[in-house]
């Protein structure tokens, strides 16, 4: 499949990057009660892949799926509301160490919404953030603990993460000028 834009990670590089992220998570916090929570949409397959890589290292972790549509800050009166999908957290959030997983960290607003959504389910012991791509331009005081690839972008550009589970192809592209 052809894709417009500059290739940042091909399938093999993406796999290598995820392996590195998995190792960073392993070496990070104390690992008791660790769970991964993918932020819908593409954070979910990434979280499942990271869990599979952690399992190869002998660590079994539960994976949750978080929908943040109801917590977004761009849905004020007079604007269309986003589509809502179910949240699935097959474990109690209270006292857990949770690694939020998302594909791209940009303004930080998605992460803010994800933290609020997560806190509605309980009080985790610690929350860390793992992202495949950090593209800069934060609008909130947030940072990622584990970053697969940091890339310089302009605001107008788009970082397109494509995953086999959702898109039929693995890779990361930078689109626009």
């Amino acid at each position: 499949m052809k894709h417009a834009g500059r290739l940042l990670l091909d399938a093999r590089a993406l796999d290598r990057t995820l392996r590195r992220l998995a190792l960073q998570i392993l070496e990070g916090d104390p690992l008791a009660d660790l769970a991964l929570v993918g932020v819908r949409t593409r954070g979910v397959p990434l979280a499942h892949r990271l869990a599979a890589l952690l399992a190869q290292e002998g660590l079994t972790v539960p994976v949750g799926e978080l929908d943040i549509a109801l917590y977004r800050d761009d849905t004020r009166s007079g604007r269309a509301l986003p589509e809502v999908r179910p949240t699935r957290l097959p474990f109690s959030v209270d006292g857990q160490a949770i690694v939020l997983v998302d594909d791209v960290l940009f303004t930080g607003r998605t992460t803010r919404a994800a933290l609020d959504a997560l806190m509605a389910w309980g009080r985790p012991r610690v929350v860390r953030l793992a992202v495949l791509v950090d593209r800069g331009h934060r609008e909130l005081p947030l940072h990622a603990d584990h970053v697969g690839l940091a890339v310089e972008t302009t605001r107008a550009q788009t970082v397109a993460v494509r995953l086999a589970e959702a898109d039929g192809i693995d890779g990361v592209w930078l689109e626009g000028a």
Partner: protein, 307 residues
Amino acid sequence: MARRHLLGLQGLSAAELEHLLDLAESFEDISLRAVKKVPALVGRTVCLLFLEASTRTRISFELAAKRLSADTLSISGSASSVEKGETLLDTARTLAAYRPDVIVLRHKSSGAAHLLARHVDAAIVNAGDGAHEHPTQGLLDLLTIRRHRRRIAGLKVAVIGDIAHSRVARSSIAGLARLGADVVVCGPPTMLPVGIEALGCRTTTRREAAVEGADVVMMLRIQKERAGEELFPSDREYAAIYGLDPAVLKRAKADCLVMHPGPVNRGVELHPDVADGPRSVILDQVSTGLAVRMAALYHCAGGEHGQ
């Protein structure tokens, strides 16, 4: 911005019905969280205008609005200037001055919600208009069935009781038929309205024929407040000929679901052993109703999707 209303299930496409059911399913987990509230409708106003007696539907809508963080204004018939002779449109226009995003209307006259939708600048959710439609009750019936059976197409559904006076029946029958169920409507001839087949169902006056091989039996409430109309001779005779008891239920499929919109007249349309039996999903319907009403408010408060 164009307003999105939910006035009835008649006229909705299968895709629109499925969208609303999917949306409702997404809201079910909110009631399972430590914090049973989401900020989705912060800053929006939902007006609950209930001009006919209702407790169950009103509290369900009120809780749904609160769980979505909307502000609510609640007006009931006996406490309003409707008592003083104000017309529905004047009441609604007065309310519209507070710029509500959604008005939820319960009214004794069929078509009342459609009238508001034409004349008032707010999204209208029909919470029951006369003997016409009660779309959120219809949706919760559909969702309850879909959850237990995974699909609706191809199921045989018997709807038994006072079809003529039931807005629930009209919404449910229309939705079920649109999604491909084989719907058989049953009741005494005095309670079967002429032309009900236009909703896409078959009719019979024999309870046994309706229940035979059914996947779902939906019993409707005998509205005792309408007893003066003398639609049937006595409760006991009705129970004997049209009630659902364990013996009749044996004719349905072994895993048949029994539904009822509540409140149940025990011993009239529904035998207590059936109402409380293993096939009954009546209490499921109540919790499903909350998620459906959250979905309805969210769907309508958002207006037309711009993207």
